[in-house]
C-alpha cells in the first residue's frame, strides 16, 4: 500500500459522515434499522441468558455456603490486633495546645466505648465464669442467638473515660490507647491458658521515650470467657474484650514507635509478612509547647 494516496482530511470526514449515516442505503453506522434491531434483540436475549446463568450458578454456590460460619477459615489462623482510636497510618497524635487534634480521637473513643457501658452490658449480656471458655454448642440443634459475656466499661479503670475530665488522658498528654484482638469464629484463643497483652517501645530509644504505662484490666489480661466467637448472626451482642494502655509520661515532641502483642499459646506473633498477626504497631506523638 506504498502507492496509496494520502487521504485528505475532508475525504476522511466525508467517509465518516457516510459511515454514521449513509443516505443511499439508509444505514446507520454500517447497519440498516432492521439489522440494528436484530442485533439489539440478539444481545438482549444473549445477555439475558447470561444473567440467568450467572444468577443460577451464584444461587447454587451460595446455597452451599453456611450462614453462621464460613466454609474455610484457613486465612484467619492468627487473629490480628488493632488499636482504637483508629487513625490514619496508625499514628496517635496529641497536640496539647490544639484541642481539635485530639478531640476527634476522644469522639471516636466515646462512640466506640458506648456499647461497653455497664448498663448496656448488664441489660444484654451474661456474667460469665472467668478463666473458662463460654461454650454454647449446638448439639445437633441450632441454638441461637448465643449469649455473650459482659465486658464492663468500668473494667477499663482510668481509661474508661467515665466522669473523666482528662478525656482518656488526651488533654493531659497521658493518652489511653485501646487494644483489641480481631474476631475469628470458633477460635479458642489462649488454648485454655491465660493470656495477656504487653506493649513495648519498638527500638531502644522508643522504650526510653515511651516511659511508664498502665494497663487495664490489670496486666493486660484478656479473659478466656470472651471466646469462642460464634459470628455476627448468632452472637448478636458479642462484646469484644479490650485492653487499655495509658501512657503516663511519654517524652513529648518525639515520635515513639510502640508495639503491643498478645501473649497466648496458640497465637504466633512473629509472622514476617503479616505485621499485624497477633501484634499491632503504632506511633505515639505528644506535642507540648515548652
Amino acid at each position: 500500500m506504498v502507492n496509496e494516496k494520502e487521504k485528505t482530511g475532508g475525504q476522511v470526514l466525508e467517509e465518516w459522515k457516510e459511515f454514521v449515516w449513509n443516505p443511499r442505503t439508509h444505514e446507520f453506522m454500517g447497519r440498516t434499522g432492521t439489522s440494528w434491531a436484530f442485533i439489539l434483540l440478539f444481545y438482549l436475549v444473549f445477555y439475558g441468558f447470561l444473567t440467568a446463568l450467572f444468577t443460577l450458578t451464584m444461587w447454587v454456590m451460595l446455597q452451599t455456603v453456611s450462614d453462621h460460619i464460613p466454609t474455610y477459615q484457613d486465612q484467619l489462623a492468627t487473629p490480628g490486633l488493632m488499636i482504637r482510636p483508629k487513625t490514619e497510618n496508625l499514628e496517635v497524635l496529641v497536640n496539647l495546645s490544639d484541642t481539635k487534634s485530639w478531640n476527634q480521637h476522644v469522639q471516636i473513643l466515646d462512640k466506640f466505648l458506648e456499647p461497653y457501658n455497664d448498663s448496656v452490658q448488664a441489660q444484654k449480656n451474661d456474667v460469665c465464669r472467668p478463666g473458662h471458655y463460654y461454650e454454647q454448642p449446638d448439639n445437633g440443634v441450632l441454638n441461637y442467638p448465643k449469649r455473650a459475656c459482659q465486658f464492663n466499661r468500668t473494667q477499663l479503670g482510668d481509661c474508661s473515660g467515665l466522669s473523666d475530665p482528662t478525656h482518656y488522658g488526651y488533654s493531659t498528654g497521658q493518652p489511653c490507647v485501646f487494644i483489641k484482638m480481631n474476631r475469628v469464629i470458633n477460635f479458642y484463643a489462649g488454648a485454655n491458658q491465660s493470656m495477656n497483652v504487653t506493649c513495648a517501645g519498638k527500638r531502644n530509644e522508643d522504650a526510653k521515650n515511651l516511659g511508664d504505662f498502665t494497663m487495664f484490666p490489670a496486666n493486660g489480661n484478656i479473659d478466656l470467657m470472651y471466646f469462642p466467637y460464634y459470628g455476627k448472626k448468632f452472637h448478636v451482642n458479642y462484646t469484644q474484650p479490650l485492653v487499655a494502655v495509658k501512657f503516663m509520661n511519654v517524652t513529648p515532641n518525639v515520635e515513639v514507635n510502640v508495639e503491643c502483642r498478645i501473649n497466648a499459646v496458640n497465637i504466633a506473633t512473629n509472622d514476617e509478612r503479616d505485621k499485624f498477626a497477633g501484634r499491632v504497631a503504632f506511633k505515639l506523638r505528644i506535642i507540648k509547647k515548652t
Partner: protein, 981 residues
C-alpha cells in the same frame, strides 16, 4: 530507456586500433566513476532493531511501563516505603517488549539483501587495448570507449558493442531468461538494444568464439546495473498479512486506548486518586494487548514455512507464507517454470503423416509407427547428422538426465534417437563420418557424409538437416513408405501444410533429407572437400520433418486447472515468441481449449480484427511491442476483460508494468521468474517466486519464495498452505482476543463496583504469555474445514483477517461469557472465605486501606490487611484458573469456524491436546509451585475451585456448536452474516 548511440552501419575495427590514452581514461574514470554497481543504501541494523521495539503493540506496552514508573514515583514521593510492585511490573513489561522485539528482529534479519548477488557477477579482469598495447586490467577500471577483447568462457566486463567477431556466442540467460546461445556479430539486426546482435551485456557469458568490442556503458549505466537499480528502487510492497496484522493491531489498540481513557476519566470523576486512575489505565492497556499474539503468529507462519519447505517451497520472508494463499493472479514465466526447459522432439512428419512423440519427462512411451522404411531412413539421418555427444562417464544416468555437449536442438535429437534406437555412438562408429559442414546461420543447414554400415554397400551417404524450406529447395524427390517418389505439387503442398501446422504449434521445425552418392562417381577413396563442396547438394531425397519444443512439465496442466478452480488467474509473461508462448499456453491450459483470442474470432467469422467485440474473447496474446503502445487504462481494460492472457516478448520494465497493472485491480500478484531480468518484477510482486534450480541469484534474492524443484505445481501446494494458515490465523486471533475481554472486565467492574481486584496484572501476563501461547500455536496445525482450493481467493480489502464478526463474537459474546465465568469463580472463593458478594460491593476503599487491619467480613470476623491481600491473590488465582479452563473450551471451539467439532475430529490435531495439557500444567505450577513468590501473586487453590468455571466452559462449547449449526442450516441468513467470522 536503453537507447544506443550510433548509426545502423556495422562499425568495423580499425586496423592498428590504439585505444584510449591513459590520460583520457583517467578523465573518463573521474567523470563516470569505476565500472562497479553501487550497493543500495542500507538501513543500519540498530535502526531496524529499534523499529521492531516500537511497532505494533510494543508502543502500548512501553506506555504501560512508563505509567508503571510514574505511578511508583508518585507513590514514592508520598511515602518512601512505597511498594515496589509497580516497578516490577514496569520491568516485566519492558522485558516482554524487548523479548518480542528481539524475536521479530531475528525473523526480519533472515531476509537477505539483493545487491550481493549482483556484485558476485562482476567479472574480475578484462583485456583492453590502451595506448596502442593490449593489457590486462581489473574490470572496475574500464571506461566508456575502451576497446576490449573477449573469448569463450569470459564474462562480459561491461556493455560492449561488438566491432569484430569470430563465431562469438553468448549466453544471455541471466539477463533475458532464455538460455539459447546467441551469436554476436558487428551487424545491427534490431532497433531494440536488447535484441540486436551487436551488443553484449555486462555479466553475461561468452560461450565460444572471440570478439572485440567497444565499451558503451559501465557500472550502474549498464543494462544489469539499471535492472539492479530498478530492483532496489522498487519498494517492497507490504505483505497482505502485514497489512492485516496492522489493521488488527489498530483495532485492538484503538479499543485499548479508548476504553483506557474512558475509564481514566470515569475514575477521576468517581473521585479516585490520580495514582489509582493511572494504575487502572495500566491494567486496562495490559488486559487489552494480546502480548503473546505476535509471537504465536510468527511461530505459526514459520511452522507453515517449514511445512512448505518440505514440499519444495522455500520461504524467505515469513509473511509471504500467507501472501501465497491470498494470491489472485499468478504471472508465470514460461521457460523452466511451465516448461521443462529443454528442447524435446514433439512431432514427426513422414509418409505424409504427422506423428506425435512423447514429450513427458522420461519419454518412455513413443507410440508412433516405427515400422515404416521411411522412419528407418529418417532415424539414420537423425543419428548421423548430429554433432552432439553425451558427456563422458554417465553410464548409470538415465538418458533424459544425461549431460549433452552440443546445442539444445541437437541434444534433443540425440536423446530422442538414443531412447528409440539405443546406442547412438556405436551406430555413428559403424557409419564413419568422412566430411561435415556444421550448421551456420548463413547456410541454415547442416550436412555430413558417411560410409554406410553395410559392408557390401560401398556408396557414401549424404545426410542433411536444416530449415525445412531450405532443405525442400534442395530436394527433387521425397520418400514415401521407403520409396523415393518425385516431388510433385501435391506432396509439396502436403509438406507446406505440415510445416505450417507444426510451426503454428510454436515448435521449431527441422527438415531432413539424404542422398546415396553413386558409387561410380564417388568411390570409397574419394576425398571430400567441404570448402569447395565437391559433392552434390541438390536433387536430394526429402525424408521428413521433426519438430522440437520445450514441452510443458507434465504436472503443469493439472496445477493450472487447480489454480482456475481456486479462482486464481494465471497469466503467462515470457520473453519468448508469441506463437510459441501461445502454443505452450494452450497446452498447459492457461488458454483453455474452448476460448479464443480476438484474432481467432476474427479469423473464424472472417471479419477484420477491429470489428470483433473484444469482450467476447476470453483469451489474449499480447506482445511486448503492443504492450508498449498501451496506456495504463488500456492495460487495465485488458486485464479486466480477458481471463486468459499471455504476454510475449516482454522486457523487464514491461514485466513490472504488468505486475503494477494487476495490482491496480486490487489483486494479490505472485510472480515467478528465474532471470536477472525478472528481479524487479519479483520484487514488485506481492510475492516473488524464484526458481531454485535454474534461477539466478539475483532472482532468488529479490524473491520471497524459492521453488526448489522449479515446478509450477509446487506453487499450488503453497497456495493451499497459505490459505490454510490464513484460516488458522483467524482462529488464533479469535482465540487470543476472547480472553482479553475476560481480562478487561475485572478492571471495569473493579472501578465501577468497587470490588477487590479480581485479577492482577501479573496473572494477565501469565495468561497472555503463559497458558495461552501453546494452544494458540497448536491451532496453526488445524486441518482445513472444507476444500479450500475450491473457493475464490480472498479479497484484499474485503475479507479481513480480523473482521467485525470475529471481533464482536470474541469480544461481546465468548469474551463476556468467560468474564462471567471468571467472576463466578472469584465470588466463590471470596464467599467460602467469609466475604459474600454483597459485602464486596464498594468495599475497595476499606479493602485497600493499609492501616485498616480489622476489616469485618460477612460473618463479623475481622481481617488484617495481609490476610485480605492473600485472599485477593486467591481471587486472582481463581479468576486466572477460570479463564484458563474456559480457554480450553475456547481452543476447542476455535478448531472450526463452521463445521461441528465432531466432524473436524477432536483428536486429529494432537497439538491441541499438547496445548491444553500445557495450559493445565502451567496453571498448576503457578498455583502450587510459585504460590510462595510474593510478586507473582498466586496462591494455592483448593481442588474444587479449579472446576468452578467448568459449567461455563461447557456452555461456551454448546453455544458455539449451536452457532455453527445455525450457520450451516441457514447459509446467507442474518445469523450467518453476523456470526460467521
Amino acid at each position: 530507456m536503453f537507447g544506443v548511440e550510433g548509426d545502423l552501419k556495422c562499425l568495423h575495427l580499425r586496423k592498428g586500433e590504439e585505444g584510449l590514452t591513459s590520460t583520457r581514461v583517467a578523465e573518463l574514470l573521474a567523470q563516470n566513476g569505476p565500472n562497479v554497481l553501487t550497493p543500495p543504501k542500507e538501513t543500519p541494523e540498530i535502526i531496524k532493531f529499534l523499529k521492531e521495539m516500537v511497532g505494533g503493540f510494543s508502543s502500548l506496552l512501553w506506555a504501560g511501563a512508563v505509567l508503571c514508573f510514574i505511578a511508583y514515583l508518585i507513590e514514592f514521593s508520598k511515602d518512601k516505603s512505597a511498594s515496589m510492585d509497580n516497578v516490577y511490573l514496569g520491568v516485566v513489561l519492558i522485558v516482554v517488549v524487548i523479548l518480542t522485539g528481539i524475536f521479530a528482529y531475528y525473523q526480519e534479519a533472515k531476509s537477505t539483501n539483493i545487491i550481493a548477488s549482483f556484485t558476485k557477477m562482476i567479472p574480475r579482469k578484462a583485456f583492453v587495448i590502451r595506448d596502442g598495447e593490449k593489457r590486462e586490467i581489473p574490470a572496475e577500471q574500464l571506461v566508456v570507449g575502451d576497446i576490449v577483447e573477449i573469448k569463450g568462457g569470459d564474462q562480459i566486463p561491461a556493455d560492449i558493442r561488438i566491432l569484430a567477431s569470430h563465431g562469438c556466442k553468448v549466453d544471455n540467460s541471466s539477463l533475458t531468461g532464455e538460455s539459447e546461445p546467441q551469436s554476436r556479430t558487428c551487424h545491427i539486426t534490431h532497433e531494440n538494444p536488447l535484441e540486436t546482435k551487436n551488443i553484449s551485456f555486462y555479466s553475461t557469458t561468452c560461450l565460444e568464439g572471440t570478439a572485440t568490442g567497444m565499451v558503451i556503458n559501465t557500472g550502474d549505466r549498464t543494462i544489469i546495473g539499471r535492472i539492479a537499480l530498478l530492483a532496489s528502487s522498487v519498494g517492497h510492497e507490504k505483505t497482505p498479512i502485514a497489512i492485516e496484522i496492522e489493521h488488527f493491531v489498530h483495532i485492538v489498540a484503538g479499543v485499548a486506548v479508548s476504553i483506557g481513557i474512558m475509564f481514566f476519566i470515569i475514575a477521576i470523576c468517581m473521585k479516585y486518586r490520580v495514582l489509582d486512575a493511572i494504575i487502572f489505565l495500566i491494567g486496562i492497556i495490559l488486559a487489552n494487548v494480546p502480548e503473546g499474539l505476535v509471537a504465536a503468529v510468527t511461530v505459526s507462519l514459520s511452522l507453515t514455512a517449514k511445512r512448505m519447505a518440505k514440499k519444495n517451497c522455500l520461504v524467505k520472508n515469513l509473511e509471504a507464507v500467507e501472501t501465497l494463499g491470498s494470491t489472485s493472479i499468478i504471472c508465470s514465466d514460461k521457460t523452466g517454470t511451465l516448461t521443462q526447459n529443454r528442447m524435446t522432439v514433439a512431432h514427426l512428419w513422414f509418409d505424409n503423416q504427422v506423428y506425435q512423440a512423447d514429450t513427458s519427462e522420461d519419454q518412455k512411451d513413443q507410440i508412433f509407427d516405427q515400422s515404416s522404411a521411411t522412419w528407418a531412413s529418417l532415424s539414420k539421418i537423425v543419428t548421423l547428422c548430429n554433432r552432439a555427444e553425451f558427456a563422458p562417464s554417465q553410464e548409470s544416468v538415465p538418458i533424459m538426465k544425461k549431460v549433452v555437449m552440443g546445442d539444445a536442438s541437437e541434444a534433443a535429437l540425440l536423446k530422442f534417437s538414443e531412447v528409440i534406437m539405443g546406442d547412438v555412438i556405436e551406430r555413428r562408429k559403424r557409419n564413419r563420418k568422412v566430411a561435415e559442414i556444421p550448421f551456420n546461420s548463413f547456410n541454415k543447414f547442416q550436412l555430413s557424409i558417411h560410409e554406410t554400415e553395410d559392408p557390401d554397400d560401398k556408396r557414401f551417404l549424404l545426410v542433411m538437416k536444416g530449415a525445412p524450406e531450405r532443405i525442400m529447395e534442395k530436394c527433387s524427390t521425397i520418400m514415401m513408405h521407403g520409396q523415393e517418389q518425385p516431388l510433385d505439387e501435391s506432396t509439396a503442398a502436403a509438406f507446406q501444410t505440415a510445416y505450417m501446422e507444426l510451426g503454428s504449434l510454436g515448435e521449431r521445425v527441422l527438415g531432413f533429407c539424404h542422398l546415396y552418392l553413386p558409387e561410380d562417381e564417388f568411390p570409397d577413396t574419394y576425398s571430400f572437400d567441404v570448402e569447395s563442396m565437391n559433392f552434390p547438394t541438390s536433387d536430394l531425397c526429402f525424408v521428413g520433418l521433426i519438430s522440437l519444443i520445450d514441452p510443458p512439465r507434465s504436472t503443469v496442466p493439472d496445477a493450472v486447472m487447480k489454480c482456475r478452480s481456486a479462482g486464481i488467474k494465471v497469466i503467462m509473461v515470457t520473453g519468448d515468441h508469441p506463437i510459441t508462448a501461445k502454443a505452450i499456453a494452450r497446452s498447459v491450459g492457461i488458454i483453455s481449449a474452448n476460448s479464443e483470442t480476438v484474432e481467432e474470432i476474427a479469423k473464424r467469422l472472417k471479419i477484420p480484427v477491429e470489428q470483433v467485440n473484444k469482450r467476447e474473447a476470453k483469451a489474449a496474446v499480447v506482445s511486448g511491442m503492443e504492450l508498449k503502445e498501451m496506456s495504463p487504462e488500456e492495460l487495465d481494460e485488458l486485464l479486466t476483460y480477458h481471463t486468459e492472457i499471455v504476454f510475449a516478448r516482454t522486457s523487464p520494465q514491461q514485466k513490472l508494468i504488468i505486475v503494477e497493472g494487476c495490482q491496480r485491480q486490487d489483486a494479490v500478484v505472485a510472480v515467478t521468474g528465474d532471470g536477472v531480468n525478472d528481479s524487479p518484477a519479483l520484487k514488485k510482486a506481492d510475492i516473488g517466486i524464484a526458481m531454485g534450480c535454474v534461477g539466478s541469484d539475483a532472482a532468488k534474492n529479490a524473491a520471497d519464495m524459492v521453488l526448489l524443484d522449479d515446478n509450477f505445481s509446487s506453487i499450488v501446494t503453497g497456495i493451499e498452505e497459505g490459505r490454510l494458515i490464513f484460516d488458522n490465523l483467524k482462529k488464533i486471533i479469535a482465540f487470543t482476543l476472547t480472553k482479553n475481554i475476560a481480562e478487561l472486565i475485572p478492571f471495569l467492574i473493579f472501578i465501577i463496583a468497587g470490588v477487590p481486584l479480581p485479577i492482577g496484572t501479573m496473572a494477565i501476563l501469565f495468561i497472555d504469555l503463559g497458558t495461552d501461547v501453546i494452544p494458540s500455536i497448536a491451532l496453526a496445525y488445524e486441518k482445513a474445514e472444507s476444500d479450500i482450493m475450491s473457493r475464490k481467493p480472498r479479497h484484499k480489502k474485503k475479507d479481513r483477517l480480523a473482521n467485525h464478526q470475529l471481533a464482536l463474537y470474541s469480544y461481546l459474546q465468548i469474551g463476556i461469557l468467560q468474564s462471567v465465568g471468571g467472576f463466578f469463580a472469584y465470588f466463590t472463593v471470596y464467599a467460602v472465605q467469609g466475604f459474600k458478594p454483597d459485602r464486596l460491593l464498594y468495599l475497595r476503599p476499606l479493602w485497600e486501606n493499609d492501616s485498616l487491619n480489622d476489616l469485618e467480613d460477612s460473618y463479623g470476623q475481622e481481617w488484617t490487611k495481609y490476610q485480605r491481600k492473600y485472599l485477593e491473590c486467591t481471587g486472582y488465582t481463581a479468576y486466572f484458573v477460570a479463564v484458563m479452563v474456559q480457554q480450553i473450551a475456547d481452543v476447542i471451539i476455535r478448531k472450526t469456524r463452521i463445521n461441528s467439532i465432531f466432524r473436524q475430529g477432536l483428536f486429529r490435531n494432537k497439538y491441541i491436546w499438547v496445548g491444553i495439557a500445557s495450559q493445565i500444567i502451567i496453571a498448576v505450577i503457578l498455583s502450587c509451585g510459585f504460590g510462595s513468590i510474593p510478586i507473582l501473586n498466586f496462591t494455592t487453590l483448593r481442588v474444587q475451585y479449579w472446576f468452578a468455571a467448568v459449567p461455563y466452559a461447557i456452555v461456551i462449547w454448546l453455544y458455539d456448536e449451536l452457532r455453527k449449526l445455525l450457520i450451516r442450516l441457514y447459509p446467507g441468513s442474518w445469523w450467518d452474516k453476523t456470526m460467521y467470522y
